[in-house]
């Protein structure tokens, strides 16, 4: 496999616990959830009109969040997504890196697998370093997080630091229970927009 890439000694973080901890401090941040496990992780912390759950189509989460961030400059917008979903829209990183939206943070839960299709290995299992790609794309702050101390240290970066911010959190392939999250895009998007704009 890729020779000199640093790999964590062991991956121990559980995605559900990671997201629960991150969301504890969400305040009034908007969340855009990439398809698959990330949707269930976020929903498990409590459904919220400010959660935009994506479904079915890979590669769009970061750009959806960027569009929200531009439209809502006073609101923090956080992406929670998976490595496969992010890889499917990798060009979003230079696009966002050039524009440098200060209110955007992207957190990638990297289990190195395509969770929804049978846990086939993604490219990150072979050493693709998404944080390094984000840095090369112009993101002023990036992080690779492998333990709870790292999560704690990242909370301020996710929610307060001028962005764009990009963090990869290495997690195991264990998942939490799947919730019955609505896939009705019309419903989810209208309540999100109402929450963003304070209107209908």
């Amino acid at each position: 496999m890729a020779g000199t890439q640093n790999k964590p000694a062991a991956i121990t973080l559980h995605r559900r616990a990671v997201v629960t901890r991150i969301l504890r401090d969400r305040g009034d941040a908007a969340l855009v959830c990439g398809i698959g496990n990330a949707v269930h992780d976020v929903a498990s912390c409590g459904d919220d009109a400010r959660n935009m759950y994506l479904a079915g189509i890979m590669g769009g989460a970061a750009m959806v969040a960027f569009g929200v961030a531009v439209a809502q400059p006073d609101r923090r917008v956080v992406v929670i997504t998976g490595d496969g979903e992010l890889l499917a829209g990798l060009g979003s990183l230079p696009t966002i890196g050039v524009e440098k939206p200060r209110n955007l943070a992207i957190v990638v839960l990297d289990n190195q697998a395509y969770g929804a299709t049978g846990n086939q290995l993604t490219h990150t299992a072979a050493g693709v370093d998404l944080a390094a790609i984000a840095a090369a794309s112009g993101f002023p702050s990036t992080a690779l997080i492998t333990d709870e101390a790292g999560i704690e240290a990242a909370i301020a970066d996710i929610y307060d630091r001028p962005g764009p911010y990009f963090a990869v959190v290495k997690v195991t392939t264990e998942t939490g229970p799947r919730l019955d999250v609505s896939r009705d895009g019309t419903y989810i998007s209208r309540r999100f927009r109402a929450a963003m704009t304070g209107g209908g």
Partner: protein, 196 residues
Amino acid sequence: MGDQPEITLDRRAVVARILKGRADTLVVTGLGAPSWDTAAAGDRADNFYLWGGMGGAAATGLGLALAQPGRRVLVITGDGEMLMGVGTLATIAVQRPANLAICVIDNQRYGETGMQETHTAFGVDLAAMARGAGIEDAATVWDESALDTAAAALLGAPGPVFVAIKVTPAETPMVLPLRDGLALKHRFREKLLGKA
């Protein structure tokens, strides 16, 4: 994103220099100026010029390299074209083809559409993206002094190899190669595989 060094390299001369030692390297070119540069260096049946499918040059090279492990494959493309298929860098890194090299002639412009700046003009670093993807032999060439080493790496170092060469946006004469996709395919395959 910080001060860039002054860019003075001429794209036409750079590509000619790289291809001088190509021997029997197979070449795939991304659409636009990289195709003209390659044709200007001398048309050959084992040049496959793309005239469309923007974003697909590196992946085309990967497929060819995997199909022909005993042959060197060199992709010559532009920054805009590479950006449109930038996920391919991860795909290539995972496959680790020892016989594949990607050369981006980076003028920081979309050459065919009015010379609008690409993302590399605003500091996006393609070689660093390649390294992040897992392509260890990845470098940016800013001037003449590094060109010979880069050419040697592109043509012979264990792959995958990635080099972005910064060139001026000065426009160069169009040298239009064959554009008939079917004819390009037939002559390339015949040269590579022999007559059917």
